[in-house]
Symmetry: C2
Subunit: 249 residues, 2 copies
């Protein structure tokens, strides 16, 4: 099985890779990936993010990264965030961020593989991989192109959660990758005035769905406009991690 | 231009067709389409819904329709909702609702055209068309297959609204169809306890975006779990139309 492992750059060492998947775009997968990395980094782990979401590369924007990645003799150097998280994303390589590349499955997988082999990931404890959204062919080909140690599923209550979890479980089984657990995003909001929580779409069924698949619900993240503005302003590293700290086993 | 009009069934008469579009799935396009029809019907207009969203046909479920559509000598008879709205959807025709048809653009357009020509739309004042989500080829081919008098754009603040509105405006221009206006869905929630409105993703920019494109914001619909449960239980016709009544010109 280690033959399957696509070889890291000679100068790299990555202990654990966690892929973050979602049923479709817009459920907050990139925000959750960023917050997982931010939280781990605050706890002292050397953290990295590999932005494999090539059609919607929002990681650099959330971290307010202004510079492009540099090339060295050993390979491409990831860009460091304000709190020293190592980040690689297509937006850090292309000159013009609105480059009209048509990203198809095989090209996405090939590019993500190059992010793994050609980037110098110097001493990383945890690498979070922001996957292309969906549970179909595109994320599947990415799973086949780099070694993944665990999967986190991001769900949002207004989608068909049970179907998305079933599809994700099947995808993880096909690839023989363990599922770390489920993060439910945007299921409730806390009224800033009276602090009352309100379940936006009614009580969610995530606990029953998780139980049915023997999965753990790692966190339930409320809709919080401070997250939105932090992400919009490139300041995700200032956001509160109350919801995320418990995920760290 | 009337030659372009795909001919209605001989027994049909439809005064106005309004297509409801969205940037992507999950922003509440089908719920908004249903509520527009419900509100018009309550005001005394003879209303119909043509469910052109073949990959996600949720209209019958929202109306709690249990029966299948019947065939007559004149054509297919639409199913009547509890308040007599005439409805046609692929789910009302296929025996097995989980039929694994792969819906591609040309097949969607052809099927929607048949909904227009082969269904007896007997005396309809307003027909709302639940379009396939997106602003790309698939909805474009549907626009080319049946006559549309106006477009309503449904947006949700956590997507790239300005890009979606620009793409929708371009699509409407290509097809030479006027845009009735924009409905912003799920941008705020009213706390059930203290009645304080809370902007989930921060203050939205929909008014500026609408102004820039000379469009009207027809309504701003809050996230309200009573909508979700009404839709889930097939009782959308019982939902409150406070937000929707003003849209009726
Ligand atoms: N819990 C949350 N509260 C408030 N805003 C959120 C939350 N999760 C995501 N967002 C916002 O929603 C938008 C979409 O999130 P993103 O992570 O880019 O989704 P995805 O990667 O699934 O497409 C972003 O503007 C983000 O800041
Ligand atoms: N304003 C709202 N408040 C609460 N739930 C909503 C609202 N709008 C949509 N929903 C719910 O969100 C889900 C997705 O809505 P739907 O209309 O099917 O989206 P789309 O047609 O854009 O895919 C449904 O369960 C629906 O009941
Ligand atoms: Zn309150």
């Amino acid at each position: 099985l280690t033959d399957f492992r696509i070889h890291l750059n000679a100068m790299s060492s990555v202990k654990k890779t966690i892929a973050v998947i979602s049923g479709k775009g817009g459920v907050g997968k990139s925000m959750i990936t960023s917050m997982l990395a931010v939280t781990m980094q605050r706890l002292g782990y050397k953290t990295a993010i590999l932005d494999a979401d090539l059609t919607g590369p929002s990681i650099p924007k959330m971290f307010g990264l202004k510079e492009k990645a540099m090339q060295s003799d050993f390979g491409i150097i990831p860009v460091l965030s304000k709190t020293k998280i190592k980040i690689m994303s297509i937006n850090l390589l292309l000159e013009n961020e609105t480059d009209p590349v048509v990203w198809r499955g095989p090209l996405i997988a090939k590019t993500v593989q190059q992010f793994w082999t050609d980037v110098v990931w110097d001493e990383v404890d945890y690498m979070f991989i922001d996957m292309p959204p969906g549970t179909g062919d595109v994320p599947l080909t990415v799973f086949q192109s780099i070694p993944i140690d665990g999967i986190i599923i991001v769900t949002s209550p207004q989608e068909l959660v049970s179907m998305i979890v079933s599809k994700s479980v099947r995808m993880a089984e096909i690839m023989n990758i363990p599922i770390v657990g489920i993060v439910e995003n945007m299921s409730y909001v806390v009224c800033p005035k009276c602090k009352e929580p309100y379940y936006l779409f009614g009580k969610s069924h995530i606990d029953e769905i998780a139980l049915k698949h023997h999965l753990e619900v790692l966190a339930k993240v409320p809709v919080d406009s401070s997250f939105t503005s932090a992400c919009d302003r490139g300041l995700v590293e200032l956001a509160s991690d109350d919801n995320f700290a418990p995920i760290v086993e």
